[in-house]
Symmetry: C2
Subunit: 304 residues, 2 copies
DNA sequence: TGCATCTATGCGAGCGGCTCATGGGTCCGC
DNA sequence: GCGGACCCATGAGCCGCTCGCATAGATGCA
């Protein structure tokens, strides 16, 4: 005989149900979520209905367009992501304790230049040392919530972020500064008076500290051109369209025909660091990655 | 048709399985765990076997005595507790978002005197303000891992701890100081020279800062009597057996016949605070409790 | 007014997880 | 030494949950 409500709480959300929530939120509809999960729309509909009945709360507004999370639904999805990640962690760490090795997925969110120039050598050494770790990098524009937002929302395990006065670490996250790098003036090579060129800027380049310094410099004009990202800025400068003030990391892949000039002793700097959730900070995969990150970031500080 | 491995990952630990792990670890055996879960020993055996097969790791050593967790098992149990708590949080917070009210279980670990004299008024006001919160208090001796250990192990959501130089907040936890209270000399009322009495002490009374101060006081003898807890010390002092040096909180319920004398301007103090996990710190129940805690702790600082 | 594209739902099938019953192993007392 | 009293392990069977299928309902668009 099997009693209706047996072991377990009255409201038990199994991992599959959590995955359904995340999939619906990500895909924006039941049908698309079903496709992503390798299931039918019917299964998703049944599942969501069951969850809503258990919780006594409507989680998604259905409509012609698909499904949007209600406020309660959005909160549920955020929690669901974290729970799913902790379940993954449980499995990986338990296995790792047995075998004495480090492994598991590691989702990194980074802004463009960090993903292109800072992470590759770090990930290379990480892979060499811990082949079990499956690292994935997502490039996120460092505006609004930025990479830290990805971590808060549970979409990433660790974020490479610019940690400035304008963007402190959110209270529910922890992190540390990896390197402090100066801004420099970039301009077409051989230009006699680069400071007179029009300024090329891009959206992410707006740390408040930098802005303060900018305001004190009377030679800096308002940006005449606003590019999509720092890479675009760099190529525009290379094409002779103007000059730009960029952090060192963005200049790593500078093409030929570009000259970099320092901004003097009182030049502005920015701090680049990492952020992660405290429950993930203790996992061996995150610790191993941060170790490699530190080992590579430290020399760069001196090289600047 | 239903494919063998359909939705969800190959290794999916459902909440019931997590509860089985926790129950077996807590109860020390499959039969007892089954009893606690309202299920049979057979079900527990099947479940544990299934989990071990999924993870590919032996989680419990079985024997005549029952079942003990292996190292991997212990880690799995710790993670399981946290995941279960986060699932609970998901449900409660999602419902709360809808209704706009705060609720859910709140497991508090506190050392004896805090549970007896600090918490009751706080819990009273908390219950008045948020009837939905179901607070439970566990008294934990503040030695070794102490109340913070309960939180780390996932057995409590929030701990009232003595935060001193000897016991810093563990890196995976967050917390804050609530009040700083002085130690005082307690002795039988009317005694002409209380400092000459034999010293009564107890195990928890061993902050390193206090010890430093003690070492500098030549009038303090080695403890001649060592009681089980501060309450016992207090009643022994009340019986005229000797004097003791105790923090203010332990003196709240001092019986008649006891006199309290200050220890001068350079008296030692101890800091009492709370600790919790960062993922719980953002939940509305914990925030509400901490708010009440602060509101009550603050005046006590001035009253000292 | 069809059509396209969503979600909702009734129905049936299969797997998973439970109980029941039983067996094996070990320690203890008589 | 031997039954009994604890453990856990395992096989058989049953029941419910969850999913797929088919279809109906809703809605915006041409």
């Amino acid at each position: 005989m099997q009693v209706g409500e047996w072991m377990g709480s009255a409201v038990d959300l199994v991992p599959q149900e959590l995955r359904v929530l995340v999939a619906v939120a990500d895909e924006g509809g039941f049908s698309a979520a079903g496709l992503r999960l390798g299931a039918t729309q019917s299964a998703v509909s049944h599942a969501v209905r069951g969850i809503e009945r258990k919780l006594g709360v409507v989680l998604f507004e259905r409509g012609r367009y698909g499904a949007r999370p209600t406020p309660a639904g959005a909160r549920a999805v955020t929690h669901a992501r974290r729970v799913l990640r902790m379940l993954e962690t449980l499995v990986v760490e338990t296995r790792g304790t047995q075998k004495g090795e480090v492994g598991g997925p590691l989702r990194i969110a980074a802004f463009r230049s960090a993903a292109l120039y800072l992470l590759p050598p770090v990930l290379e050494r990480l892979a060499a040392r811990h082949p079990g770790i499956e690292a994935t990098v997502t490039v996120v524009r460092e505006v609004g919530p930025g990479t830290a937002g990805e971590v808060v929302e549970g979409r990433a395990d660790l974020g490479i972020a610019t940690l400035g006065t304008s963007s402190p670490i959110p209270p529910e996250l922890i992190g540390d500064v990896l390197l402090e790098e100066p801004y420099a003036l970039v301009h077409p090579a051989g230009h006699p008076d680069p400071r007179s060129l029009p300024l090329v800027d891009w959206r992410e380049n707006c740390s408040s500290y930098t802005r303060t310094w900018w305001a004190a410099q009377d030679w800096i004009p308002a940006a005449t051109v606003r590019a999509e990202d720092d890479g675009a800025v760099l190529s525009m400068v290379g094409s002779g369209l103007g000059m730009a003030i960029m952090p060192t990391l963005s200049l790593t892949g500078a093409p030929a025909g570009i000259e970099i000039t320092g901004l003097g002793p009182d030049r502005p700097t920015r701090r680049v660091g990492y952020v992660t959730t405290p429950e993930l900070a203790t996992t061996s995969a995150v610790r191993a990655f941060v170790r490699e990150l530190r080992a590579h970031a430290k020399p760069q500080v001196r090289a600047v």
